[in-house]
Structures are given as structure tokens and as C-alpha cells.
């Protein structure tokens, strides 16, 4: 399953860090952060619940880039 989320982040480098962090989160198959459109496209693993996975994604993103937001 794929879902798209609006994000808030300041710099391209930070967006790349968020992408890395989101990819490594459990339940996420693949993630792409688009700095220019401020969107994060997340592909979830089969059977994963986005409502449960996304808070963890946000947490791991906050860890690498304090100044970011994902509108879940």
C-alpha cells in the first residue's frame, strides 16, 4: 500500500535524512521524500497498518532532523 503525506522541512539535506530514516523504519517498504513538493510517499509492507507505522516514522525522522513535521 502506498500513501502520500504532506511534510514540513527546511532544507534539501534534511529531507534526504528524513528519507533515509523513514526507509529504515519497521513496516516501511520504501519511502521517497520530495523536498520540492514537500511530500513524503511511503510504501508500506504487506499487512502493515499505516496508522500504527506513521507515528514511528515521524519519531525516527525527528531523531535525525529535529526541525521537521509530517502531517499524518
Amino acid at each position: 500500500m502506498k500513501k502520500s503525506y504532506k511534510i514540513e522541512v527546511d532544507c534539501a539535506n534534511c529531507a534526504a535524512k528524513m528519507e533515509e530514516a523513514a526507509k529504515k523504519t519497521e513496516g516501511v517498504k520504501d519511502a521517497v521524500v520530495n523536498f520540492m513538493t514537500l511530500k513524503m510517499n511511503v510504501e508500506f509492507e504487506d499487512g502493515a497498518d499505516p496508522g500504527e507505522v506513521m507515528p514511528r516514522v515521524l519519531k525516527s525522522c525527528k531523531k535525525v532532523e529535529d526541525d521537521c513535521e509530517i502531517y499524518i
Binding site: D10, C11, A12, N13, A16, K17, V32, V33, N34, F35, M36, T37, L38, K39, N41, K63, V64, D66, D67
Partner: protein, 651 residues
Amino acid sequence: MNKKQKRNLCRIIITAILLAALHFSDEGVSIAAACISYASGTFFFRVYPVLHFVLFMIPYLIIGHDVLRKALKGIKNRQPMDESLLMSIATMGAVVLALYQDVTGGHGDYDEAIAVMLFYQTGEWFQSVAVGKSRRNISELMDIRPDYANVEIDGKLEQVDPDEVEIGTEIVVNPGEKIPIDGIIISGTGSLDTAALTGESLPRQIQTGDEVISGCINLTSPLRIRTTKEFGESTVSKILDLVENASSRKSRSEDFITKFARIYTPAVVCSAIALAVFPPLVRLLLHMDPMWGSFIYRALSFLVISCPCALVVSIPLTFFAGIGGASHAGILVKGSNYLETLSETDTVVFDKTGTLTAGNFEVDAIHQSPLKERELIEIAALAEAASSHPISLSLKRAYGEEPDRSRVSDIEEIAGHGIKAVVDGKNVAVGNTKLMNSVGAAYKECPDDIGTVIHVSIDGVYAGHIVISDIVKPHSAEAIKSLKACGIKQTVMLTGDASKIADKVASELGIDEVHSELLPADKVERVDALIENRSGKGKLAFVGDGINDAPVLSRADIGIAMGAMGSDAAIEAADVVLMDDDPLKIAEAIRIAKKCLRIVKENIGFAIGVKLLCLILSAFGLADMWLAVFADVGVMILCVLNAVRALITKK
């Protein structure tokens, strides 16, 4: 400006005022310190450093607290190598240096530490405003998303979310509104502004029965439209989806920058440490003054200069602006990597039908006829009145009127031969040479034989032939010329048509190489061969109409589909999609790609060049922190401004 940007601007202004005030009240600080030391009975040289330090820490913390916090968090999360850390080390180093000078009886200079942080924050602020602005500009260019659809519910028009409109619903589009969903006009005529989709400024005339695509703006009168697709499947959604996801396919330049930044920052930090430690140690061994302060200062400037943000920000921004600008011109590029490939293209391979030629047949010439041209076409059109073969259609189009069926009787269609019919009481045969033989008419061969020849006989007597051929698009020759002008070395045409026709078209247009009488599978082989035999690094682009050449589109280095208005197959198979049929857009796309890549290279060269120069200067102690800040922030601002140029696509 959003809230955060406003808050940061306030911080920048307050700090600047405080810094200026402190800078010009140096005397005041000394006098205040003297008063305090007198009142408390401590030594002046104990009080002054503390007071000096505390006063200057106020603006430093106002402007720098978030950077310091971010650096600390980075260290805690084991991701320490970023620009916040560089700035923190550099400014804190300068603060410690100033404090050391104060304590040892000198006069410490805090101005620089604060100024560096101030400039860094100003640069960040500017960058965030500039990026935000270009982001908005680009989204405005792509402002084709319809907000609502007017649906008649119980006799009243209501605005509903386009997502909720089902296939087959009747919607009303008023003048000035965007068509929200693809459909067919049930009633109403008028003109549509398709500029947002095709870049074409002339309005398009439409009438009842025409198919219309979403994203066009209705200009004149209300239209009633029956939807043929869901919103999610409509052209406008597909295009938006494509453009929004385009920049997530990263180009090699972007990959290069990401990798570069990954090794670059640690490398710079290590060199800075080396610069701060080794020269003084060597000087100590040589029994010279080690000059610790001076070398630490140089190392700190070194750190400030080295921030890679100019590159990290401006390169993706350039690609994004390039893709945005191209889509405004009716050219959809599916990713930054394709923009890069497009700029390296030196061979363009065309499919003939539908790409260079219009793909519909028209009457080209009439030969050997004792009748007037008009009469011959009239007879042929009448005989073909009941047929829907492309050739019959083109004859009827040339005739221009709806044939009067009452004048025709006894129509007999002979497959592979043509048609026999009685027109105005005469026995007419319209078809190929075999048909002429069978009716015993003495036909004449067509002298130049460049199209499909249709012979006509009346009552068994030869009445001449009509030549029908596919017409070349009006801009095709110009398109080939402008491709050559923008550096394409070789143009190739592939077609399934007979070689005579293909050669004629090719020489008319000035195409270098022609391969004719090809089956679809042969086209893939040809493209394969062209890719294998190429000499340089140049890439090969294939241009087709996307309907039956999907395999070739995907085999070529870059596949360009044209005339994608309404054709899903084209949007899916190609890497670059031209929204209208105009072959001139191919050269335009290449020009935009080249400009974009030129800007990328300029930015990489400029940023790395200036930084390297400043790094060398600072290593030899020739650059102070002011120059260092320019090397960081100034370069970044110039690069961002340069990147925005990619948005401008007008010639």
C-alpha cells in the same frame, strides 16, 4: 513568509541591533566593568572578561540557540556531521578565543562569532524564503488542479469534490472554470484555453460531441459535459501525479552531490583539526612562536567556508525549476534523470506516421483525368459513400459535403480491389489496378507514385486516378532544423511505409537516415543497432506517438511521446511527454534540458571553485571570517538565484 520565517527575521534584526550597539559601546563596557570592580572591591581584570562575555552572549544565544541545540542533538543521535555542528564549532571556538584574550589581558573580539552566526542565519532565512517562493511559482505554473465539479442535483447546480463524481455524470462547466474531469460535450460550443496543458496560447474551438480533457479552462459559454473517466484517471490527475513525483527520480548530478556531501563534511572537519594542530606543533619543534590562536582562527574560518549547502540546495532546486518550466511549455519530463539524458542526446529517431506526418490521409494530386478535379472527386466520394475505410474517409473529406446517397445505388465492395457502384446511372469503379483490369479499363500508371493511387473508371472507360498521401505536419521541417541548431548530430526516420514515400518525406524534411518498410519488431532492432553502433557518449532519443511504439519508446535511452492529450498509453510508456502534436517541442525540450544542466554545472563549478579558493586563502591566513561567511552564504544565495533561472523557458 510563514510564521517561522517571520520569527527568524525578528531574531536576525534584534541581534543585528544588539551587536551594533555593543560594538559601538566598547568604552561603556569598560567603564561599567570599572564601576562594578570599584563597588565590589574586586580587580578590574577579573570583572571585565565576565561582563564582556555575558553581554555578548545575549545576542549570540538569541541568534544561535537553535543551531547549538541542533548540533547537540546531532551528536546525541550519532549524526554529528552537519552544518549546525560546523557553525557551532566555529563560533564557539571564536568565543573561547575571545574569552582567552580577555583573561590574558588582551582585548577579545566577540563580534566575529556573533556576526558569523548572524550571517549564517540570514543565509538560512533567505534560502527558506527563496525556496518557498520558487516552490510557489512552480506550483502556480502547474495550477491545473480543479477544486470542484458542478453537478446538477434536483435541478440545482451544486459544487462537489471531483473525486466523488462517477463516470457518466453530467457536469456543467461555466465560463472561467476549469474542466474538472475528462468527458464528452453534450451541449454547448465555445473555445477552451489549453495553455496550462500544452503551452499553446491560441484557444481551441470545440463543439457538441467533442471530447474534452480536464485542466482546460472554458472561455466563452457554459458547457454541459458527460464524464467518461473518474477524476483519478483523468488527464489532469495523471499530469499532476507525474510532475509531483518527477523530482524523486534523482539525476546523476544529484546523486553525486549527495555522495559528495557525505564524504566532504568529515574530510573538512579533519583538515580543520589538522590545520589547528600540526602547524603550531611544527613551529614548536622549530623553536618558533607556535601561534596557537592564529591557527585555530584559520581552522575555524575553514569550517565556515566549507558548508556544502549551496550545492545541496541549489542542484535539486534547478532540476525542479527545469521540470516546472518545461511543464509550463507543455512538456512533461518524468524525472530529473531524464532531463539529464535529454541534454546529452545527439541522435533523434522519429517514427514517421503521427510524429512527422499528421497520420491522416489527404488527397494529394489528381492525374490523367479528362474530367475536372472536382467532378472526379465527387464521383469517387459518392461511390465510396457507404464505406468507412480511411481512404474513403479522406475522399469524402476532400469532397467537403455529405455525399447524397440517393444518387448512388448497387454498391459492391470488393475486398482488396475497391468499390463498384452505380452513380447517377453510370457504372463507376473506384479502386486499384486489379479492379481496373477486371472492369477492362485501360489505366495509366502514376508517374511519381508517392502515395496510394486510386483509379476511377466510368462505364468501363478510364477516368484518371487520385493520389492520396499522408501529409507532413506544418512544423516538421522547422523542427528538424531547430534540432540541428541545438546540437543534434543525427536524425533518423523509421517507418513501415514504402521506401518511395519514406524517401520523399525524408528529403523534404532534411532527415539524415531513413529505414522504411519496417515491421514494429524491426523498429526495436533498428534502434538497438543504432545504440550499439554509436561512436561517442551521446544518447539516443526516440520520438513516437505512443500508441503502437511502446517497446521502442522503452528501448531508447529516452522515449518521447507526442500528442499525449488523452492518450494514457503515451503517458505511461514514455519518459518525456509532449502534450500537443507539435514536433517543434522536441527541440524546445532539449533546449530546456541543456539550459538546466548548464545551470547545474555552473553552480557546481562556481560553488566548489569559490570554496576551494577561500579554503586555500584561509589555510594561509589570508581570509578572515567575513570572507568565510561570504564563501558560505553569499555563494549559496547566488546559486539559488541562478537555479531559479531554469524556470524561465521563453526563447
